[in-house]
């Protein structure tokens, strides 16, 4: 038998070990010992360079759509008949006269090809239009409150089309920025709604178990087994066409989240089921902790980090859903501009062959979705800072 029957012998080890426990530790370790879960997560996340970069990019994009009136040089619905389907103007630094310190663009003039009768734009090299920052332009009211007419950039006279114009001569850059506001917020609001639904129903399902769990699970399976696009089509066909654009916008968000919550609910449910049987939850029960306190102090903090990562990964799905709905012409409709609505315009042979700049909104969708996916990946890796610590 291993242990000596004389307790004194074993106590000797005990005292020596106690001294070791008392030993001082250096400061960085000390910091680690007092670190909360969120600090540990941040330290883990920081190591994930790509995710941090994407996080910054996303932050930047959201700052941009917070003030689209300021960022965009024009208004999204202003038509410029002289510049229909104009290509993007290249920003230049070198002209015939040499190097310019201020970037500039050349003006465009329309010419009709005498043989094909096709309209072409040619550069008018005599007009150098320097790009200025914080120029005065179209009047607007920021958030409907602050009247202003300062725009981030623009040219003094004439037009500046960084991304070209559409069929009606509307500035694509302006439209992409305004569309970003709709598309990017629909993702957030949609995910928020499905988060509320998923957390409540998934939480109830996992915590109560039994028959309630069974019913909620079956409902979710039924929702998930519908083919998505026909279901969206049916639901959005039910939106009355006379509704205002804002109402339609919210209706679309609700439709997206009614389908999107099931995935989140599953994640919450499985987390709760596994946590419910963890020893620390049993210990809390045994010390007389009330159920509300167990849920709020033990369960929710334990899976919150994981859920945030899942939500981050769910946002691009929402955006893609909105984009495809609008692309199919059953989501948002003009005059509301979203990336999907803009892409719908490029749905023809002309855009493909003659005006490829009309597909720039697609590029934004790709960048945005990718950035969120990388950010979500990083968050997911950091979400469980205790994973590698065991033993």
């Amino acid at each position: 038998m291993f242990f000596t029957q004389n307790p004194e012998d074993n106590l000797a080890i005990n005292d020596r070990q106690k001294e070791l426990l008392e030993e001082e530790v250096d400061e960085t370790e000390e910091q680690f010992y007092y670190a909360t879960q969120w600090q540990l997560m941040w330290w883990n996340f920081r190591k994930h360079r790509l995710a941090v970069g994407c996080g910054i990019l996303i932050l930047f994009m959201y700052l941009m759509v917070l003030v689209p009136e300021f960022i965009a040089p024009y208004e999204p619905s202003t038509r410029n008949r002289r510049y229909a389907n104009a290509p993007p103007q290249r920003v230049r630094l070198v002209s015939d006269q040499g190097f310019h310190f201020r970037p500039f663009v050349y003006d465009l003039t329309q010419e009709i090809d005498p043989e094909t009768l096709q309209r072409n734009y040619v550069l008018d090299k005599s007009t150098i239009k320097p790009i200025r920052f914080f120029v005065r332009g179209v009047d607007y009211k920021l958030w409907g409150l602050i009247p202003s007419n300062i725009h981030l950039f623009g040219v003094d006279d004439g037009m500046l089309f960084l991304f070209g114009t559409d069929r009606l001569g509307r500035d694509m850059f302006t439209r992409v920025i305004y569309a970003a506001r709709i598309s990017m917020s629909i993702g957030l609001i949609g995910v928020f709604l499905s988060f509320v639904l998923g957390l409540t129903l998934g939480g109830i399902s996992g915590y109560l178990g039994g028959r309630v769990d069974n019913i909620i699970q079956r409902i979710m399976e039924i929702i998930r087994s519908f083919p998505q696009i026909p279901l969206w089509m049916a639901l959005s066909a039910a939106i009355p066409p006379h509704w205002s654009p804002v109402r339609t916008y919210f209706a679309i968000t609700v439709i997206l989240s009614v389908i999107g919550w099931t995935n989140l609910a599953r994640q919450v449910r499985s987390k709760i089921i596994s946590l419910k049987n963890e020893d620390f939850v049993v210990a809390a029960q045994l010390s007389g902790t009330s159920e509300t306190r167990i849920v709020t102090r033990h369960l929710i903090p334990s899976f919150m980090s994981h859920i945030i990562a899942v939500i981050t990964l769910a946002i691009p799905t929402m955006i893609l859903a909105e984009t495809s709905l609008s692309f199919l012409g059953i989501g948002l409709r003009p005059p509301v501009v979203s990336w999907g609505v803009l892409l719908q315009q490029s749905q023809n042979l002309y855009a493909l062959t003659q005006a490829p700049w009309l597909m720039i909104p697609g590029l934004f969708v790709v960048v945005y979705v990718l950035a969120f996916s990388f950010l979500g990946d990083g968050l997911r890796d950091a979400a469980d800072p205790y994973g590698g610590m065991k033993r």
Binding site: F3, K18, F32, F280, R391
Partner: protein
């Protein structure tokens, strides 16, 4: 009010815990796993009862039913509090909360038993807060408890990830003792620890028992640990207690064939002593099966007809000079078994 001898703090009578097996789409119940299937034992106040048995024999389930983390299927759990004897098996949620402070548990896994997102102070003071102590009282009590379990009270603002397995187990012990319980169910408290740390934690448990007049139900599969710390030992096999006796008596003169085989499986820590272990044939009995006789009968070399027809009851077989040797075997008086020195 139920009756129980004065020196006994916990007395379990015919306790059963069956887990239903549900099958098919409608989840109809088809049979049950009888994890604990009619267990009787008692613990005198201030003693340590060891509960040993192989994996899956129902030790942990029994422990969890006693602390009422699980609902018992049948039977009585009589427990002595200052107000008198109560039957834990029949208590509802609100009554149970009042008893919680008297019975606490120490868990096997020092990693999953502490919430990683709470500081040590929050973890240990949670039971105190539940029983209406103020923040300030908690802090004083926690520093006292940390001192008692051999940790520096300066560490109370740290998180569990800064502690080793042994230290975490000390924190778990401090939490269990926060409310001054009289009975502590220790579910394999040292089996997840290094051998060198095991000794420290065992000594700590023994010191605390003296200081606080604790009674332990010590669940373990490690026979050497049990021998070191326990006053009496109960051996479990597939949901039943097959033998219960004072530690020395049980180790030197086992009366149940299963106990004898279990003891022989422990190797001597010396290369010079030949290891005469006996190997059982067959498999461990299925806890879901309906049985008529002794669960050990199919593997027992002494078994005869009666063993597969009648379940032996746990009865007192003490010889003169022994006290309280209980065995559940039809042939306890007739067979000679070997123990360990």
């Amino acid at each position: 009010m139920p009756e129980m001898p004065d020196n006994v703090i916990l007395s379990v009578k015919n306790l059963k815990k069956h887990f239903p097996i549900r099958k098919g789409f409608l989840r109809r119940s088809s049979g049950a796993v009888k994890a604990v299937n009619g267990v009787d034992f008692f613990i005198p106040s201030g003693e340590t009862l060891g509960l040993v048995g192989e994996s899956g024999c129902g030790k942990t389930t029994l422990g969890r039913v006693i602390v009422r983390a699980l609902e018992p299927t049948a039977g009585q759990i009589l427990f002595r509090t200052s107000q008198g004897v109560i039957d834990l098996a029949g208590l509802g949620k609100s009554e149970l909360k009042n008893v919680r402070s008297h019975i606490q548990m120490i868990f096997q896994d020092p990693y999953s038993s502490l919430n990683q997102r709470m500081t040590i102070l929050d973890i240990i003071s949670e039971p105190l807060i539940n029983f209406g102590h103020t923040r300030k009282e908690c802090e004083e009590r926690v520093s006292e408890l940390l001192d008692m379990v051999g940790l520096n009270p300066r560490y109370m603002q740290r998180y569990p990830h800064s502690f080793s397995g042994g230290q975490r187990q000390r924190i778990g012990i401090a939490r269990a003792l926060a409310l001054n319980p009289s009975l502590v169910v220790a579910d394999e408290p040292v089996s997840a620890l290094d051998v060198s740390v095991q000794a420290q934690v065992l000594n700590l448990l023994m010191d605390l028992q003296k200081q606080m007049q604790l009674t332990y139900l010590f669940i373990s599969h490690d026979l050497s640990v049990v021998r070191y710390i326990c006053d009496r030992v109960a051996v479990m096999y597939v949901g039943y207690i097959v033998e219960m006796a004072g530690t020395d008596q049980l180790y030197s003169k086992p009366r149940h064939p299963y106990t004898s085989t279990l003891l022989s499986a422990v190797p001597e820590a010396s290369p010079h002593i030949p290891w005469n272990y006996s190997v059982l044939s067959g498999e461990v009995a299925d806890p879901a099966a309906d049985r008529q006789g002794c669960a050990f009968a199919p593997r027992c070399q002494y078994a005869s007809d009666i063993c597969s027809q009648e379940i032996p009851s746990l009865h007192d077989v003490s010889l003169p000079g022994e006290d309280g040797h209980y065995v559940a075997c039809h042939f306890a008086d007739k067979i000679e078994l070997e123990g360990v020195s």
